[in-house]
């Protein structure tokens, strides 16, 4: 599904290049549950951004479902990620002005899905995540765990093949975090590929494959 070859990312500051990622090679198959681990500043988020097509690599090749991402036009690329990728963030990033229902609806709106179909998709998802009772609440009225649940629901509502999660439990206490991880496991069992960045050992234990990053290098262990 995903092939990264010699992915390198650096930022130019003056005449010096600051390296964030160095020659990363990865091959991820559909249905995998992968965890990217490493200390702060190791390049986890950058790697996720590149996989999620939100950021470009400075060097190296990236192929997603046999499409060469780097040679694609902006429009095709955004179509690609709209169709196949969902994002989950550490600080949930729900839209404060919208209710739970409307937050879930938003990605469908941008995909131009018809109103009736939208409605049934949102209802299904609410059901599946057992948050029907919360549908008219605003994010500020929910606990962190509940917000993240909505965040995940929003990420999968458009039925992506891949979910990218950046420290999804970082802001939660352990009980809530456990629930979220169980949710990821269930999704993975349903066939969704999951890549999460974390520095929690316990989260990592849910995944079948762990990739270690240190100072931008891919390493065997920390």
């Amino acid at each position: 599904m995903i092939q990264l070859s010699d992915i390198t990312k650096y930022y130019k500051s003056g005449s010096i290049n600051t390296y964030v990622l160095r020659r990363i090679n990865l091959d991820i198959k559909e249905g995998e549950h992968i965890c990217i681990m490493g200390p702060s500043g190791a390049g986890k988020s950058t790697l996720l951004n590149i996989i999620g097509m939100l950021d470009d690599a400075s060097e190296g090749g990236y192929s997603f479902l046999d499409n060469d991402v780097h040679s694609m036009k902006e429009k095709q690329r955004s179509q690609l990620y709209k169709d196949y990728i969902g994002f989950v963030f550490q600080s949930y990033h729900l839209i404060d002005e919208l209710t739970v229902y409307e937050n879930l609806e938003t990605p469908l709106l941008y995909k131009k899905i018809k109103s009736s179909q939208r409605k049934s998709m949102v209802c299904d998802t609410l059901d599946r995540f057992q948050i029907v009772g919360k549908k008219d609440l605003f994010p500020s009225q929910l606990s962190g765990g509940q917000q993240q649940l909505v965040g995940i629901a929003r990420a999968i509502i458009a039925e992506p093949k891949l979910i990218l999660a950046d420290e999804p439990t970082g802001n939660l206490h352990s009980e809530e975090g456990k629930k979220i991880m169980e949710m990821f496991t269930r999704l993975n069992e349903e066939g969704v590929t999951i890549i999460q960045a974390t520095h929690s050992e316990r989260n990592a234990s849910y995944s079948k494959r762990i990739i270690y990053l240190k100072d931008g290098w891919q390493v065997d262990s920390l």
């Binding site: 988020s45 938003t106 941008y110």
Partner: protein, 796 residues
């Protein structure tokens, strides 16, 4: 999707109540000001629009007098109209003669009407009066009249006025032959009664064919298409030469005034209707534009400032699949919603303010010419344009931004955006400063005109209407003057042709003994009685005043003002002789004294050389100086004396001071109005600054927290926040000063006697804006500076 944008916009605006309120209020105040000014401007510029053929109608005005002492009259001689109609370039002609005080009776009721005009029957072929009943031939016959609808209501109530009779001047029966729609206020021909010109014949006032008399007949010509005014003027001159006597030809010069220019034309001694002032139209158009600019800048500024905080939102939405167009539409929906809410508030403000402004300006200055649909069109387009402009910039800049997850966390703004904000804030303050300086200069000039010495004492002088042109009038005047000598409350009294403050255009050409007959000098002249100098408190600087006991003074004595002495180059004025001034067959030659220059007109005009003489048959006003402590007794006595001399004339008087006060009414009103709009502009600018500071301080909250932890004091932090804004205000002043200098200089050129605005005005404007801005900035800064740094550092 539209519903989604709208819903989101509404929630977002409600969530940021302060921002929304500031934005809507500022914009609404701006738009309401623009509407008010627009009503005024449209009213002024729409003069004579009632008449469909206005572009082809001209009035023939007349300059009368010898070269050098010409005086403008709006009316021409009675023979001109019919004769001009024969010129091939002229399609039609009509004469208008007004009776300012026409007494009309009907069914036992009697009214004095001001808007009665005698007009030729061609009037309906030239002007577009809308007849409700009657035909266009309605004014062919003598003693026929067409009246307006509201007058028909007033005189005949619900009866059909057609065929009814109005009694004119107690003896002439005018037959109503037509009713027309009421004429709108924005025309100088505001007529309620049109009486056939032929009626002047039976009334004994007709002067058909007369070329050498009077300027009573305002003559309007309907020109054929593409007629060159120059050619027509030439033909009119030829007509004059062919028809009039030599003297008339010498004294008369024709001028053509396009109908649409008459409202702003001030050349004529007597004209009809309220005069407009094109300078005010320019000034207020500019002010409207500036206020709108300030309000618009506010909107852009606050929107861009706030959109900084929405990078996170844009980021999330983009991650969720939103395209650039989605985001642009969403931002535009928000800014349009804001500006359209402002439209609603602006209309409400307008409705509240309009009656007050209208009453304040008085005298039909504001004519409500705008229908609701026009107003809606104007404000909606304003709202849409501002909304789009203000929405587009942030929409374009933010929507193009690529959501890097790392950036979602920070809300720091880009530097080029804050440069734009700085420029806009500086521009706002620059405009405020210009308006402040402008208002201050107008008020100072006004105060200067009202408070500086006029050269005479205008206080405690009352004016009575008398006329000494008939022998009987002369006796009455003398009797009155004699009586006034008896009361201790009356210091002195004197008749005169006119008094300062009332327009006097009597002009003669005179020369001194040593000048050759070609070296005539134009001088103003005025007739007066002995005692005038004392009554008005004029100061004799050389020689002496007229003396009652010296018959030579009354016969041939004259007083000069200092300007006349200078203009005639008289080294020893007292005892000098002047030639050329002959009143009622009597040459006025002997200079007996010189009075200090005094202002006979406004400060707009230069003091002109003035020659004063005594002419008992030329008194039309009587000035009486009262003792300041015995005013009421004196007034009672004067009224009593008046009644004994004029048993059937009611007693009316005016204070000279009041006449002077009315001279500057338009300046005073313009000053106050400009002051009001300046306040609004400054208010809107400060409102914007307040909003902006809120956001900027918010953004620096963390920095402030860190500084406090490092040991910064509250005052240190406030100073640090305030420093930036002070620099902006200073920059704004530097830009504004030259602009203000030129603008006020241009306005002051209207006045021959004017102030020289000192630097203190500029400094005051600077300090005013600076202090207001600093107060606005400190209000929020102090709050943040006082807050516990833990609070601002904790989140992340």
């Amino acid at each position: 999707m539209f519903g989604y944008y709208l819903k989101f916009a509404v929630r977002n605006l409600l969530k940021n109540k302060r921002f929304t309120l500031i934005n809507i209020l500022g914009l609404a105040v701006g738009m309401a000001s623009v509407l008010l000014i627009l009503v005024y401007i449209i009213g002024e510029l729409s003069y004579e629009n009632y008449h469909a053929q206005r572009d082809r109608i001209c009035r023939v005005a007349v300059d009368f007098g010898d070269t050098g002492s010409k005086m403008g009259f709006a009316g021409a001689m009675p023979a001109l109209g019919p004769a001009a109609a024969q010129i091939p370039e002229v399609e039609n002609a009509v004469r208008w003669r007004r009776d300012y005080r026409a007494r009309l009776e009907c069914g036992g009721q009697s009214f004095v009407e001001q808007n009665v005009f005698f007009v030729d029957s061609t009037v309906f072929d030239i002007f577009s009066f809308r007849l409700i009943s009657g035909t266009r031939d309605a004014l062919k016959e003598p003693l026929a009249a067409v009246i307006s609808k509201s007058m028909a209501q007033k005189y005949f109530d619900s009866e059909d006025p057609l065929g009814q009779t109005l009694v004119y001047d107690g003896e002439y029966n005018l037959k109503i032959t037509g009713v027309m729609e009421d004429v709108p206020a924005n025309t100088h021909l505001k007529c309620d009664f049109l009486v056939s010109y032929a009626s002047l014949e039976p009334m004994g006032q007709a002067q058909e064919g007369v070329w050498n008399s009077s300027g009573k007949d305002f003559t309007y010509l309907l020109l054929r298409e593409n007629t060159a005014p120059k050619l027509l003027l030439k033909k009119l001159d030829e007509l004059l030469v062919a028809s009039a006597d030599e003297n008339t030809v010498r004294l008369i010069t024709f001028k053509l005034q396009p109908l649409t220019s008459i409202h702003f034309n001030n050349d004529c001694f007597v004209d009809w209707g309220r005069k407009g002032n094109i300078t005010y139209v320019y000034v207020f158009s500019t002010v409207a534009f500036l206020i709108l600019l300030i309000a618009g800048f506010n909107f852009v500024n606050l929107s861009t400032a706030r959109f900084q905080y929405r990078r996170r939102e844009v980021g999330i939405k983009k991650v969720l699949g939103a395209g650039r167009l989605h985001m642009i539409r969403q931002f535009l929906a928000e800014s349009l919603l804001t500006s359209l809410s402002a439209v609603v508030v602006a209309l409400a403000l307008f409705e509240i303010l309009f009656p007050h402004l209208s009453a304040f300006l008085g005298n039909n200055v504001l004519i409500d010419r705008l229908s609701l649909s026009q107003m809606l069109f104007i404000v909606l387009s304003l709202g849409a344009v501002i909304g789009l402009l203000a929405g587009f910039y942030p929409a374009l800049s933010l929507s193009g931004y690529r959501p890097i997850l790392a950036n979602l966390k920070s809300a720091a703004g880009g530097s080029q955006r804050s440069t734009l904000r700085k420029v806009l804030v500086i521009a706002q303050f620059a405009v405020s400063v210009v308006l402040l300086v402008g208002t201050a200069v107008i008020f100072k000039q006004l105060a200067f005109m009202q408070n500086s010495g006029l050269g005479f004492d205008k206080d405690n002088v009352i004016l009575l209407n008398v006329s000494s042109s008939s022998p009987e009038g002369r006796d009455n005047y003398a009797a009155l003057k004699e009586k006034f000598k008896q009361h201790p409350g009356i210091i002195s009294a004197s008749g005169a042709y006119t008094v300062p403050g009332v327009r006097n255009k009597e002009t003669w050409t005179v020369r001194t003994e040593k000048d050759s007959p070609q070296d005539f000098v134009n001088v103003r002249t005025t007739a007066m009685d002995v005692g005038y100098v004392q009554t008005l408190g004029l100061e004799v600087v050389e020689g002496r005043d007229f003396s009652e006991t010296n018959p030579a003074d009354i016969r041939q004595g004259i007083l000069l003002n200092e300007t006349a002495v200078e203009r005639l180059s008289l080294e020893n004025p007292v005892g000098a002789k002047l030639f050329g001034l002959t009143i009622d067959g009597q040459a006025k030659t002997d200079v007996i004294g010189v009075v200090r220059d005094f202002h006979v007109t406004t400060f707009r005009e230069k003091i002109e050389p003035l020659v004063m003489y005594i002419a008992p048959a030329k008194y039309y006003v009587m000035a009486v100086r009262l003792h300041p402590e015995k005013t009421s007794e004196a007034l009672a006595f004067i009224e009593e004396s008046w009644s004994s001399v004029f048993p059937d004339k009611s007693f009316e008087y005016t204070y000279l001071e009041d006449i002077y006060n009315t001279l500057y009414v338009s300046e005073a009103k313009m000053g106050q109005l400009l002051g009001m709009f300046t306040l609004l502009a400054v208010f809107v600018a400060l409102l914007g600054l307040f909003g902006l500071v809120t956001f900027m301080v918010e953004r620096r909250r963390k920095e402030i927290g860190i500084r406090k932890v490092m040991g910064a004091s509250v005052s240190g932090i406030v100073m640090f926040l305030v420093k930036d804004f002070s620099r902006w205000v200073l920059a704004a002043n530097i830009i504004a000063w030259p602009a203000a200098y030129y603008a006020t200089g241009y306005w002051l050129e209207n006045y021959f006697y004017r102030i020289n605005p000192s630097w203190t005005i500029y400094l005051t404007a600077l300090l005013t804006v600076l202090i207001l801005a600093l107060l606005t900035v400190s209000f929020h800064s102090v709050k943040v500076a006082l807050s516990n740094p833990i609070m601002s550092l904790r989140d992340e």
